[in-house]
């Protein structure tokens, strides 16, 4: 009651100061010293009252009229602990003191401030109001531990009043620490102060020193001023000296002026004399000019003289030149005259020589004519030994293309009638022979060849073509004495024998027997393509004996088939484009012209040769004999 009256001086609004009213007042008042977690978020505080209707009534009335922590609050009544709901403050009535543990446990660690009324179970209280019944020293007791556990905090102010001894000790400890801190601060400050005081003492000492120094300086100045005064006295003395000296100087000046006047008069005399000198020098100058003029004139005359000298020299040179020139001309004239003489003589000689040459030319031409004539004569002899074309043409439908490269040919063609048997069988031999070389030497060989064939076939009556060639080879070698002599000449031979069977054979068969010495036989059967039968690679005659035997090729042809005997002149012929006529082209020609008659075929072939060759020269003798069986 005591405290109550102290703490609540004016029982406000005339309320009856009942115990319960006090309790409610205490609750609200003391609760204000507590702080809830996140208190600022609480709009309306809630105070719960458990099992105390009167306190509830009081608090309800309070809630309508006052605020808690400047916020409105409401009050809720609970009958039993089971009904408890979350509130900020819970006032537990006296009735519940015995079972306060249950209540406490329900609130365990929730931010609820438990206010109890004289509860003896101290460990389960937070804010325990005491002042009513007990004559205790404190009006309330605070259990800081439980308050902390609930997450609430309490102001140290009321701890001082209502806290436990521990709490008080803590507060005291805090205060001690603060005190210590402040003492420490004080110490540092006092130390600073001491330091500053020392500094001050220092500065005072310095000041004293400085004032001493200044005193010294002052004394110095005094001595110096004394010195100055003495100096100024001496200066005055000196000034008086100076004045005296100036007076002396003035005297001397006057003397100098006098002397100057003397000098001036002398100067005048001098200038007079100078004018005389000028006159004289003018005269001299004039004379010198005259001299200069005269020397110039002399120089001029000298120059004229020099140029005249040069002219004379030049004229001399010209004279010399012309002199030499005329000499040269004379000499030249003489030389020309001589040359002319020589020329005349040379001309005469030339003319003579010309005559001689003309004679010689005539001689040579004549000789040429003679030689050519003799060659032509030789040609007639060659022609004579060749088979008559007419005779052949009477016996066979055939053509002979015989184109010597020069006049006389190294090729020849040969024919022999082998007679008629009783059976009616007729045989003929044909040959085209290509001797080494062309022209006269070839012609000679052709003679020998033709004779040899005549001898072998007509006289010795050898019938088989291979034997004929074999024997021909031997004979030619003998004839030319080729074992011993240097002669290497030979012949390539295309030799055929045609046998027309006797009357008992009713068909058109014609037997062909062919042997070739480095020549082939071309044949074209009626209605077929042209064929080649190759001869043996062995020549007739020549330096090296080739033991290869001449072969005899025997074929059965038909009347109307054609055979062609050639020398190599045609196939070896080159065109202007350096192309050889060649076997292929000949074969082609035979195939394409196979339907022509022999005469037309001849013209065709001659034209082909000409077209191919022109304007290239003929390389070798060309001989082609075509026979239609």
């Amino acid at each position: 009651m005591l405290y109550a009256s102290v703490l609540f001086p004016a029982s406000a609004f005339g309320q009856a100061v009942t115990e319960d009213w006090l309790k409610s007042e205490y609750t609200v008042l003391l609760a204000g010293y507590f702080t809830w977690p996140e208190e600022e978020k609480i709009d309306t505080f809630t105070i719960g009252v458990l099992s105390s209707e009167s306190v509830y009534t009081q608090l309800s009335l309070k809630s309508e009229m006052q605020e808690f922590k400047q916020k409105p609050f409401r009050v809720i009544y609970f009958n039993r602990p089971g009904e408890l709901q979350p509130v900020n403050i819970l006032f537990a009535g006296e009735k519940r003191n015995k079972s306060i543990r249950k209540v406490y446990n329900r609130l365990a660690e929730k931010p609820v401030l438990l206010v109890t009324d004289s509860c003896m179970e101290y460990e389960f209280t937070m804010l325990n109001l005491m002042g009513m019944n007990l004559a205790g020293t404190k009006p309330f007791r605070i259990n800081k531990n439980n308050i902390d556990k609930a997450g609430l905090s309490v102001s140290s102010k009321i701890l001082l009043v209502g806290g436990s001894e521990e709490d008080l000790r803590d507060i005291y400890h805090e205060l001690e620490l603060e005190g210590n801190k402040m003492r420490a601060e004080l110490d540092t400050l006092s130390r600073e102060l001491e330091g500053k005081q020392r500094e001050l003492a220092e500065s005072e000492r310095e000041l004293a020193k400085r004032s001493n120094e200044i005193d010294l300086l002052v004394r110095e100045i005094e001595t110096q001023t004394d010195q100055l005064t003495t100096l100024s006295d001496s200066i005055d003395l000196k000034q008086m000296d100076l004045v005296a000296k100036i007076r002396l100087l003035a005297n001397q000046e006057q003397k100098i002026k006098l002397r100057e006047n003397e000098i001036n008069t002398l100067n005048a005399e001098i200038s007079g004399k100078e004018m005389e000198i000028d006159e004289r020098s003018r005269i001299i100058q004039k004379q010198m000019d005259d001299i200069v003029l005269q020397t110039a004139m002399m120089k001029e005359q000298q120059k004229i003289l020099d140029s005249q000298k040069i002219q004379i020299e030049r004229q001399k040179m010209v004279l010399w030149f012309f002199g030499i020139l005329s000499v040269l001309i004379l000499g030249l004239g003489f030389v020309i005259f001589l040359a002319y003489r020589i020329k005349i003589r040379a001309n005469r000689i030339l003319r003579e020589k010309n005559h001689i040459i003309e004679d010689q030319k005539r001689n040579i031409l004549k000789q040429n004519e003679n030689i050519t004539a003799s060659i032509y004569y030789a040609l007639t002899i060659q022609q004579a030994i060749l088979p008559e074309e007419d005779k052949l043409k009477r016996l066979f439908d055939c053509f002979i293309i015989y184109m010597p490269k020069d006049i006389v040919s190294g090729d020849f063609y040969w024919f022999s009638r082998r007679g008629r048997k009783k059976t009616g069988e007729r045989s003929f031999c044909f040959a085209v022979v290509d001797c080494t070389g062309h022209g006269v030497p070839g012609g000679f060989l052709s003679m020998i060849g033709s004779r040899t064939l005549d001898s072998i076939v007509n006289e010795q009556k050898i019938e088989q073509t291979d034997e004929i060639l074999e024997l021909m080879d031997k004979r030619i070698r003998q004839a030319l004495n080729q074992q011993k002599s240097d002669n290497e000449d030979g012949m390539d031979v295309c030799l055929c024998r045609l046998t027309y069977p006797g009357d008992e054979v009713k068909d058109d068969t014609v037997y062909l027997s062919f042997s070739g010495a480095r020549r082939s036989l071309y044949l074209i059967r009626q209605g077929q393509d042209a064929e080649i039968i190759r001869g043996v690679r062995r020549t007739i005659g020549g330096k090296y004996f080739n033991p290869t035997p001449f072969l005899k090729n025997e074929l059965a042809l038909k009347k109307g088939d054609r055979i062609y005997l050639t020398s190599d002149g045609l196939t070896d012929q080159h065109s202007p484009q350096r192309e050889k006529f060649g076997t292929g082209r000949f074969i082609n020609f035979l195939n394409t012209s196979s339907s022509l008659g022999m005469k037309e075929q001849q013209s065709g072939l001659e034209e082909e040769i000409y077209r191919f060759m022109n304007p290239e020269i003929q390389r070798d003798d060309i001989t082609i004999m075509g026979i239609k069986l």
Binding site: T436, G490, Y544, G582, T583, R619, D620
Partner: protein
């Protein structure tokens, strides 16, 4: 030994191009050969070759590049080939080859004949296309 060089000229179309090198022994005859005086022409070649074999005794690399030769020339060429063969038999280093157009069967046969008779180890080299002599001749 001095070289032997016979170039082809406008007038001398019937003679082949000849180049014999006296220091390396490389010899070449190219072109066509149907001169009137084969003995005279080929005589020079034989003389040179005989001198080379006698005095220099060096290797010979002979290339025939003839596309046509008449009968007289063939005899002279045969002489050359026999000379080469004899030199090889006596121990001389001889290489011989003939470049020819394989389309020209007659030429091929003629070359083979020469090879057979001379018994020279002659390499037959068929070729396609232009040869040097042909170009030279086209210039005229």
């Amino acid at each position: 030994m001095e070289n032997l060089l016979i170039p082809i000229t406008e007038d001398e179309y019937d003679k082949p191009f000849v180049s014999f090198d006296g220091s390396t022994g490389k010899c070449e005859i190219s072109g066509e050969s149907f001169p009137e005086k084969t003995a005279e022409f080929y005589g020079r070649l034989m003389e040179w070759l005989e001198k080379y074999i006698r005095e220099v005794k060096g290797p010979i690399d002979f290339v025939f590049n003839l596309s046509y030769f008449n009968t007289s020339s063939s005899k002279r060429i045969l002489h050359i080939m026999i000379l080469l063969q004899e030199y090889q038999a006596k121990g001389g280093k001889v290489k011989a080859g003939w470049n020819y157009d394989p389309e020209d069967l007659d030429l091929e046969e003629d070359i083979e004949d020469l090879k057979t008779i001379s018994k020279l180890d002659l390499k037959m080299n068929p070729k396609g296309g232009e040869t040097r002599y042909k170009r030279l001749s086209e210039d005229r």
